[in-house]
Symmetry: C2
Subunit: 294 residues, 2 copies
């Protein structure tokens, strides 16, 4: 019976990250305050200073991440004086100098984007999900996020086209012909690098940066049970709660007292709930869950 741990730190993440050991994190999923956004809570970082502000943090993240781990950065540049600001692009270039590999850029297509109308632009309905890695070889569990195949398959895949057969028969016998059996029973396919998710708009107490499906998808893709997930800008704690539910250890850091308290309280409630109700396990093993709040 293994134990799932959910740790929460209070304070500035540049400092708090130093408390974490090297190579201890399997996945980082976070949505840092965007430049000049959420001024009321984070004070707002000027677009020109954003890269300099983030570099010490990404340096620590690079240190704590396992060589097989992945860093998913949810970010989008804001409009400054009618132009898209370039700090995200500069950030990527600087992080590569720091030693990060920029493996991929996923697109989060927000199904219900923020309403509004402007004379010179349409509603912004997508955000960047930048994937960084410490090494070229990293853990990826693709089967965990397979999706149902498109409707076309039902009618089309019944009889495999002769071209497809020919195509692979021409190649030395190790191609499609061999795999026909895989295709006939096929009902799921691998996804692409575009994610379709709605923004979460149910909770009014906090500004949830992303819906639960978002960390859930990446946790499925890049970790297995008992791995450790980190969110250095925990905010409302979405990443932590999802990780916990999925039987992953997690570490969160939050600098805003109100958010910190909210997460803490919710964690404590959940712990008691588990004690009294003997909640069903997420995975196949019996689990006990504990929170360590500092």
């Amino acid at each position: 019976m293994k134990e799932i741990k959910t740790e929460l730190f209070f304070g500035d993440c540049t400092k708090e990250l130093k408390k974490l050991p090297d190579n201890s994190i399997d996945l980082i999923v976070t949505s840092p305050p965007y430049a000049d956004q959420r001024k009321s809570t984070y004070g707002g970082i000027h677009p020109n200073k954003y890269v300099n502000w983030f570099m010490p943090i990404s340096k620590e993240l690079l240190r704590v991440l396992k060589p097989t781990g992945t860093f998913i950065l949810n970010i989008k540049e804001k409009v400054v004086d009618g132009e898209r600001s370039t700090y995200v692009m500069e950030l990527v270039l600087e992080m590569r100098k720091q030693g990060w590999f920029w493996t991929e850029e996923f697109i989060w297509h927000k199904k219900n984007s923020f309403p509004g109308k402007w004379s010179n632009r349409f509603r912004d309905s997508w955000e960047r999900l930048l994937q960084f890695n410490k090494a070229k070889q990293f853990n990826m569990y693709q089967d965990a996020v397979k999706v149902p195949i498109g409707d076309w398959a039902k009618s089309r895949l019944k009889n495999l086209s002769t071209t497809d057969k020919k195509r692979d028969n021409a190649k030395n016998g190790s191609g499609f012909g061999k795999n026909v059996s895989n295709w006939l029973g096929k009902d799921t396919v691998y996804p692409t690098n575009v994610l379709h998710l709605a923004t979460e708009c149910n909770n009014k107490n906090h500004s949830a940066a992303f819906p639960e499906e978002l960390p859930e998808w990446f946790i499925n893709l890049f970790t297995t049970e008992y791995d450790t997930v980190l969110d250095p800008f925990a905010g409302s704690g979405t990443t932590l709660f999802v990780a916990k539910r999925m039987a992953r250890n997690s570490v969160g850091i939050e600098i805003v007292p109100e958010y910190y308290d909210m997460i803490k309280e919710k964690l404590e409630i959940e712990s008691q709930y588990i004690l009294f109700e003997e909640r069903a396990d997420y995975g196949k093993n019996k689990l006990t869950k504990s929170n360590s709040i500092r």
Copy 2:
């Protein structure tokens, strides 16, 4: 009765662009050869040299564009040694130094992306549509691209994966079903900065870089009738033919003789067709169409 002109130049666009007068173009829509792609036809530009290769071209484009005009650049970085290449980001930064404003980045979500499976990444199903402007005030005709609500819902429903449907139904009342009823009253809505289009891969004679809907959408959005559209990498001529059909003047440049000849021939055929058949007008005015091929 105004006349629509379709001009076609043969040669290297850096040189040919010099023949165009200052401030004469309302919209540039183009898809240059991506780094190291299309080697067989365009020779291929190494990722490291891409920015230097493009700078003289973008300088000329800045010159010929009207202050109220817009430049739409379709591009995507390829993977180099397991990482996304950074030349597109560097390109944006350099073009801003050149005087361009980077107004917006649209996403082209390709419904049918190239197949394949790799251990470290999923299929790439999106491309960038970078919007650059010469001035902060530019022409934009948003009403021209409003989406009919019925068609939108229809195509949207058709394309929704079963997961999406399930997910939406699972949400208590804020899901798809409820929203559909809200749309019934309205007839059109403004789109967002994400475009859903399939690539055209069925044409046997040539490979068009993008589907007709792509230039069509931007021509509607950024020009009116009798405006002038430029594509310095005409390729199969999609932009030119769409512009012509929409009663916009257009200028194309193409360096590959086979492509140039193909466009030329198609333009001539269309002209004759118009003479004999008295084709229905695109817009409300009577039009004659002429091609000037050099």
